[in-house]
Symmetry: none
Subunit: 69 residues, 2 copies
DNA sequence: CTATATTTGGGTAATTAGGGTC
DNA sequence: TGTGTCCTAATTACCCAAATAT
């Protein structure tokens, strides 16, 4: 299955929620607030682009400046 | 190369605070001071890497076989 | 078509962020 | 210097039932 359309993979709210360690409902709010792009299925469910999610995740990630001491 | 957007589970400030027996506010200060890496949700809340937290815990653990000075 | 897991929607508690102070 | 506690505002989590996805 999965047509695998050339381009980006689509993630479900549950997948994105797991990446950020938040509730799927929260991801929905991000989409509603325009903080993250979303694609709606004909049924009204949201899907998110993996590339955009990873990009967002990378931008919001802060590494410790003092690793090991 | 240790990826930045994948690896281990993420912990909430309250979870980390419970592990260290400190106030969540203190964990926030650690993140602000750059002593521990953090991932911010689009809403501004922080999530911490369990592996990094465990490593920090191990480093702070005063062990007989762990000469810190 | 049936069946299971997920997502949606609204509303309310719990947690977190940020500043200031001890 | 580091931590705990005060406050308010914002964000997030969990409750329900119905609809959608696979």
């Amino acid at each position: 299955m999965t047509s695998t359309v050339a381009g980006g993979r689509l993630l479900t709210p549950g997948e994105v929620a797991a990446l950020f360690r938040v509730d799927p409902k929260t991801v929905t709010r991000w989409a509603t607030a325009g903080r993250i792009g979303s694609i709606r299925t004909p049924g009204g469910h949201r899907r998110f682009r993996e590339s955009e999610v990873n990009q967002l995740l990378a931008e919001l990630t802060t590494d410790a400046s003092t690793p090991t001491a």
